[in-house]
Symmetry: C2
Subunit: 207 residues, 2 copies
Amino acid sequence: MSRRRGAELEDAILDAAREELAELGYAKSTMRGIAKRAGTSKAVLYRRWSSLPELFLDTLASRFTNVPVPDTGDLRDDVLELLRHAQTSLGYTRRDTVSGLIADTVHDPRLAQRLRDLIADSALSDAMSTVLELAAERGQIPPGPWPRRVITLPISLLRDDFVVFGIWPSDADLAAVTDEVFLPLLGYASPAGMVRNRDRPSSEHRE
Amino acid sequence: MSRRRGAELEDAILDAAREELAELGYAKSTMRGIAKRAGTSKAVLYRRWSSLPELFLDTLASRFTNVPVPDTGDLRDDVLELLRHAQTSLGYTRRDTVSGLIADTVHDPRLAQRLRDLIADSALSDAMSTVLELAAERGQIPPGPWPRRVITLPISLLRDDFVVFGIWPSDADLAAVTDEVFLPLLGYASPAGMVRNRDRPSSEHRE
DNA sequence: GAAATAAGAAACCCTTGGTTCCTTAATCCC
DNA sequence: GGGATTAAGGAACCAAGGGTTTCTTATTTC
């Protein structure tokens, strides 16, 4: 029988890990299970990754890069498109994977940092910065610079929902964060004469 | 030798669990360890709690209730006081405890709900609602009702920092969230003629 | 074709969650 | 007070999983 090696084998393992994760969830995924699924042995996995979280981190690594900067001409549309991109990236990832990784990497600063770079806002917030600059040039909002906290605001809110409450953000959530919080804070007046947020209570409720 | 029973024993176990958690962290705390520390046996613990997360949940339960509504006469001071209360509650809790619990309770809806009720905003957001109403009556901000998302905004942001980034919010963070995001969103003009946030970039940075 | 490399299979160790069983102390109730 | 009931505490046990080691053998490399 044939034996895979190098990159071919590695890809097969990563695929197996993704499969296991999708099927069993983070908590029930095991090295044994992944090895078996990939048709190889634990020793081979440990030769490449020093621990389970490390392997899982590589599993996700491909997903959260390349954030395109939207440029529709309208701030609201740009923001929504950017958030939808984040939403889609997250969509591939089960919630328990994120919280599991957070929990398992707290004690290892190197891993924790890698995870943060993945989940967190680096690429997204750069894109958001640009979106705000473009809007300021068009005169839709006052000129910057905006505090970092303002730039990452919508992402933080959605991530909080996702991680703490287990809510995968719907389109309505994206719109609510944008219209009720982000745009009003930026001082954006919608071209369509949008109603001020606080005069119309949020239409979607949960719990 | 004497044998403890009932509430006395239970308190001793909860104390032992808190000790173990504080000393070893969530990931390294074990039933065996807690039982030993409390001078009893695992069987006794399992007679009371069906699992480790359940026990830990009870360990924290006492901390996150009774949120006093501040009423200093100024919105900014009220908000800061409320956030400081949240900060203090969190301060007793290591970050890995929260993320560990989140990860361990995803698959059990009942536990997940209990955790959410603890960490999340129920009591805090009620208090925040009242604070905003008081400010509106004083004419410091426009009248409500505000969307739920606006009310919980500062808490969500700080919680995101805490859970995802492992940052225990400092007083500066509290102030930044309040002055850069929350108050501007509410349309609050500081009595002291506060500078608009976006004209002075955030003074504290991290990473 | 020989030497170096690494795959795959298996056994193994250790820790932990969770269970069971038994002995014996504390409490209850007549 | 004394017997019946309850539950504490101790120990052994099981299964599962992380992580390591060892060995055989297929693949590369030179």
